[in-house]
């Protein structure tokens, strides 16, 4: 009995893998046939689909690199595993794609496979995260957000807002809900704010603590902040989700977020616009996931044989609550 079940399971597994393999083979043959009709073939090794931001990032590529624009996109979802991405890049090289776009899962361990791509003469464009390599000639360009500038933007907005409210000479007490310690978003945003703090001697950074980018941790840490400090004026949450947690904690303490305490978030996800319309949040600094058009621009330049800049930041906006109502419908993520 057990053997029969076991055999059946093995058969099922075999069938399943055969199905998957077939799909990949289909894709591969498509890739090579399309190359004949002058489409630029782009292989895109994406991290996965771990957040709304990532999904928007993927959609941006899928809508930019369409056949009408002269592209053929081969998309690979690595499910957050580097070995899948390495496999995907090797596949891309075998299929002789024209360009490889990589959103690396981790920063290290890319020398070998990207070296192979370089040998094959395929330019590699990095999206979102940076890689840590000794020889930076193995990638052509990097496209992503500037987290430090996002920190500067947040400070600039707060400065303007306080002046508007006539509070520029008051002592302003700030707490920060940090992201996962060591992540590039956390490091950049913390540094960006820190760099600008000395320009505002009346601002006091009371405390920083990590909320690990999640709403529930953000709420927990904010609960603790509210008990430790009586007079918090501003909360800087290094992503919107933690800001939502902070909003709940402030409400539970009987205060009015957005009014009694200024709430600053990053990312500008759609839910943040909903919170701003409800009057709970004051501003969200964008972390733009729409990298597709910028990468397409780079590819066009490379096609013409022009030189491109190695580091390219995408445009990022600051969205205060006043603009939330009119912009919410245009938000894709």
């Amino acid at each position: 009995m057990k053997r029969v079940v076991g055999l059946l399971l093995v058969c099922l597994l075999g069938l399943f893998m055969w199905g998957c393999g077939k799909e990949a083979a289909d894709q591969a043959s498509k890739g090579t046939t399309d190359q004949k009709d002058d489409l630029i073939v782009v292989g895109y090794a994406q991290v996965g689909a771990e957040s709304d931001w990532r999904t928007a990032n993927t959609v941006s590529f899928q809508t930019t690199f369409v056949e009408e624009n002269g592209y053929k996109l081969i998309f690979d979802d690595a499910q957050q595993k580097q070995e899948n991405q390495i496999k995907a890049i090797r596949n891309f090289i075998q299929q002789e794609v024209d360009y490889i776009v990589l959103a690396p899962v981790v920063e290290t361990g890319w020398e070998t496979v990207l070296g192979e791509a370089k040998e094959a003469g395929i330019p590699v464009i990095l999206s979102d995260r940076m890689i840590d390599v000794s020889d930076d000639s193995i990638y052509t360009a990097w496209v992503g957000g500037n987290f430090i500038k996002e920190g500067h933007d947040a400070v600039a907005w707060l400065d303007g807002y306080l002046k508007e409210q006539g509070r520029q000479d008051e002592q302003i007490n700030i707490v920060t809900l940090q992201g996962t310690i060591g992540s590039s978003a956390q490091v950049g945003r913390t540094k960006g704010v820190e760099e600008k703090l000395p320009e505002h001697p009346n601002w006091v950074m009371l405390d920083r603590q990590t909320g690990e980018f999640t709403q529930s941790k953000g709420q927990e840490v904010m609960e603790s902040f509210l008990k430790s400090y009586d007079d918090i004026d501003v909360v800087i949450a290094e992503n919107d989700n933690m800001a939502f947690g902070a909003i709940d904690a402030i409400k539970a303490a009987g205060m009015d977020p957005g009014e009694d305490i200024i709430i600053i978030g990053y990312d500008a996800v759609k839910a943040a616009f909903e919170a701003m319309i409800a009057g709970d949040m004051n501003v969200s600094v964008e972390c733009n996931p729409l990298h597709g058009p910028r990468v397409a621009e780079i590819i066009q330049k490379l096609e013409k044989g022009e030189k491109v800049e190695k580091i390219q930041y995408v445009d990022e906006g600051v969205f205060p609550a006043e603009t939330a109502a009119e912009l919410i419908d245009s938000r894709l993520y």
Partner: protein, 353 residues
């Protein structure tokens, strides 16, 4: 004099002595570092204070630890899938309520959605139980399947999005019911404790689980259906994970398949260990695990209150946990005892000489 010694020994020898001492020490440090730690006030119609936070935030951990205690006692293994299972249960509930778009309108009645979520948790538990009790796969390996696949399942249900329920009553379970000053999760945890204790005390189930845990074969030889009990305790652990998932999702009125209950299974196992339970199975103490769960949360909250910076937080946590676990080690106690005896012998020997 001997009486005092006897009483002292009785207190010292009690199985809850060490868990309680650990909790006591963690709380006592606060008394010195943050004097306001024990203040509780009525703020905005609800109880407000660090102690309330600890009890509130430890509720889901307590619920998971109860399920984990029985799993450990009965099978000598651990259920590492509980965090992922709670995400699955939460995803089922929220998806059945609002579908694949964040919304305020329920598609089906709230109670029905909760039952669906809990059934999802039970189903996951039954799957684990089947693998472990019937196919005799090692618990760690069997539950590893859902540990990795569970979040994937939850992702498929939510289609990779964070789904929000924009409906005020949905928050009651994880926050406050209007007019009640005590956080709802505390009630839920107490209910789970009461029901479990009642079942274990009113029936011989507790004894059976212990017996199976001490020696599965011997238990079967005296007429206990070992496999059935192991199946049941994993199912129960799945149910506990489901209940915890309901609280976790209600707290943030949303399901984030990647982060809901992330790493909570490790805390649950730690709670069982801090509670003085042997992870090899057999005798168990629910009270110990509950105290263990509260200790873990008390530690986190205390470190926040003491303003430990984020990058140092894990270090302090690790140090405290190492000390607590070392304190509980019988081997260490024996070593210290023999060392003490050697030294006292030495001193005595010198005196004689």
């Amino acid at each position: 004099m001997t009486n005092v010694k006897k009483i002292l020994r009785k207190i010292y020898g009690h199985s809850l002595f060490f868990p309680l001492t650990c909790l006591g020490i963690v709380l006592a440090v606060n008394l010195i570092k943050t004097p306001t730690f024990f203040q509780i006030s009525l703020n905005n119609g609800v109880l407000y204070g660090y102690i309330i936070d600890i009890l509130n935030r430890s509720s889901e951990l307590i619920i998971l630890a109860i399920g984990m205690t029985l799993v450990v006692a009965g099978s000598g293994g651990t259920d590492i899938s509980v965090g992922a299972v709670s995400a699955v249960a939460g995803a089922i509930t929220i998806y059945s309520l609002v579908g694949s778009m964040s919304s305020a309108v329920y598609r089906i009645p709230y109670g029905f959605a909760i039952i669906l979520g809990l059934l999802g948790g039970i189903a996951c538990g039954m799957f684990n139980g089947f693998l472990i009790a019937k196919l005799k796969i090692q618990p760690m390996v069997a539950t590893l399947i859902l540990f990795t696949a569970g979040r994937g399942i939850a992702q498929i249900i939510t289609q990779g999005f964070i789904l929000y329920v924009r409906n005020e009553p949905f928050k009651y379970l994880g926050n406050f019911i209007p007019g009640v000053p005590i956080p709802t999760p505390i009630f839920v945890a107490i209910m789970v404790i009461l029901v479990t204790v009642l079942i274990l005390k009113k029936t011989a189930l507790g004894l059976y689980i212990q017996t199976v845990g001490i020696n599965r074969k011997a238990a079967r030889l005296v007429g206990l259906n070992s496999s059935l009990y192991i199946f049941l305790i994993y199912t129960f652990s799945g149910l506990c994970a489901g209940i915890a998932g309901m609280i976790i999702t209600s707290r943030v009125y949303s399901i984030d398949a990647n982060n809901a209950g992330l790493n909570i299974e490790l805390d649950a196992i730690l709670a069982v260990a801090i509670g003085g339970n042997s992870l090899a199975g057999g005798k168990f103490s629910l009270a110990g695990s509950i105290i263990g769960a509260i200790t873990i949360q008390a530690l986190t909250t205390s470190l926040y209150a003491m303003k430990v910076t984020a990058d140092q937080l894990p270090v302090y946590k690790a140090i405290v946990v190492i000390i607590i676990v070392m304190l509980q080690s019988t081997e260490l106690k024996r070593m210290v005892h023999s060392l003490y005896q050697k030294i006292s012998n030495l001193i005595a020997g010198k005196k004689v000489a």
